[in-house]
Symmetry: C2
Subunit: 408 residues, 2 copies
Amino acid sequence: MNAVINKDRLWESLMQLAEIGATPKGGVCRISLSDEDRRARDLFCTWARDAGCDIRIDAIGNIFARRPGNDAAAAPVVTGSHIDSQPLGGKFDGAYGVMAGLEVVRALNDAGIETAAPLEIVDWTDEEGARFAAGCIGSGVFSGHRDLNDALSLSDAEGTTVADALREIGYAGDIAPGSIPFKAYFEAHIEQGPVLEAAGLPIGTVIGAQGQRCFMVTLTGVDGHAGTLPMAKRQDTFVGTAKITVALSELAATYDPPAVITVGHVRVSPNSRNTIPGRTVFTIDSRHPDTDVLQRMEADITRICTDIAKADGLELQMDAVTRAEPVAFDPGCVDAVRTACRERQIRFMDIHSGAGHDACKIAAVAPTGMIFVPCEDGISHNELESARAEDLATGAQVLLDAMVKVAG
Amino acid sequence: MNAVINKDRLWESLMQLAEIGATPKGGVCRISLSDEDRRARDLFCTWARDAGCDIRIDAIGNIFARRPGNDAAAAPVVTGSHIDSQPLGGKFDGAYGVMAGLEVVRALNDAGIETAAPLEIVDWTDEEGARFAAGCIGSGVFSGHRDLNDALSLSDAEGTTVADALREIGYAGDIAPGSIPFKAYFEAHIEQGPVLEAAGLPIGTVIGAQGQRCFMVTLTGVDGHAGTLPMAKRQDTFVGTAKITVALSELAATYDPPAVITVGHVRVSPNSRNTIPGRTVFTIDSRHPDTDVLQRMEADITRICTDIAKADGLELQMDAVTRAEPVAFDPGCVDAVRTACRERQIRFMDIHSGAGHDACKIAAVAPTGMIFVPCEDGISHNELESARAEDLATGAQVLLDAMVKVAG
């Protein structure tokens, strides 16, 4: 088979897409269902139509772009990712998976190759979770992890719901999420970590993903005047938050290196320099590839929060907002990726994903695999996120070969 | 002298004023130069005019309401405070001093008493510092601690300057700040601390105020993905902020009990639950009544920030935004307050102020004294801030007697 990825075209598409929501330091701010997200969606739809695809939108705003096969009855072989970003995100996280899918279709068109099963490119709604306090909304609804109506009624900090936002940007579709059966799903993504780069390898065949426990914690104490209330009489929720954060950072180091714990979102109230904070809300994100270890970490985290809140006289509320179990990808899909590498003599290694991805949700309803490519210094969720055009093209080539192999 | 404070009228005025910007838990949100501040200023001006006062506004928005005396050449004896509040502040902080001044004028009117020197009630602009990152703006400009043009060009988080905000609410006056010489200045205020309540005394004669050092700290590290970047490779600014906050809390406890250190304002960036924070900005507020101790605390604070930033691989920027030296009030004014208490057989104690007040600025340009009354549980900068009508009336009576004694 001689369909070959066009490295420069793939790079050019990524750079054009990155102009939408571009930030000063070379990243993108393309918050889910914002006007920037709409413009990026519009551009993707235009490009996909130009490449001969039919576009359908489902009720949670997922976009499906289908390249017909010659077996009209066959379920599609699907690829994709997301084009929303973190508030200060990079050009490749998510966008690469969607543009790689587009490049697969364009390369097959160039080569005049028709597959038996249709191919389909998908842009999943709100993978990042930066706006509605829940990630993987589109793939989560599609795969039945999340109820459609619950997802539509999630609201952002301004009180705008997902349903409102979808209508505003014109992406409230009519087909039922999950109604399209997949023959298989592949997702290409930058690694977002330092492993492939350190190993000097262009491809990671992803065999599974870390599990995740994410908590929203609220500490309530008593506001007070910063000049007059003696230290011993304070119920300072930010000092409590600081103690918990330091303890969690030390806790993570007591587990195996893949264990990570992050306090990434913090809101201090009233947030005035001369008032002792009477209320602090923050998130705790913990991850590990082993369910048992993840459970032990959760118990430790709960104990740390409880003990510190009690010692400091603070009221503690702690809610689990995400409990994602570790995922094992489909052996057939993983093998299709490995075989594609071997046939082109591309060096690869098996790898676990540290991040959650849409593929982790889809794995529950379709045979799923992922392809990782290296990114510079392992940096992601950062404007400085960077990847090499050669590696991105190599990943897309492996994706093309694996998809065609499965589609026939 | 038989001018007697009307306890119920004073209370009623405080309660009416507290309706402007009222919060659900019984506090007020009357941010400086907001529409709520404007409405409160308008109400004060109406009441002061009804009590026979002439209103003048200076170029930084300070309001002066003068009750004429029979010696037209005499400098006024002045009292007042501020009617702006913290974002979640109480009904009495500041408002009490202005309403007590109004009640002094009303009680003298009722008794038909004319003083030799004029009496004047002042509402100082933006004491709280909750909006423009600097407190005591009005009294600071009046007393020459702060340049008028610098103050007018301070801007809030939305980029609105003090000058713009004054024009918007109609309080950009034309008289030059500081052009009114004061014979003396007295300020009545709730203690905002637990000392008077614990001692069971209705009046504190304030002999001076704690000095203050306030710093704005910025830690810069590297944003990163919360799932994929190993703990050992992180440059997490929120963990750095947490370590500094815990260390400062421990540091404060190593000094004498009046030493306080507070981290009250914190901004985490990008503030997303699955991104390691690459930048955190926070404030450190430290106070002590002794200049030497304050200097030692500053050196310790600087060392803690420097050491932790270095150990965690973070870039540190640290700016002193406030350096207020301890203040000693005028012995003559302090004695006038003590004498007023003795003559009415009111029990009192000498006290240091833990908070900064407009009086601390005015002390540099006029003989100054302060009168503290207890507040419930020492709670202030809090919606639950509370004080007893009896104590507030006692404080206003002492204020009246002291002012009349000095005014002649």
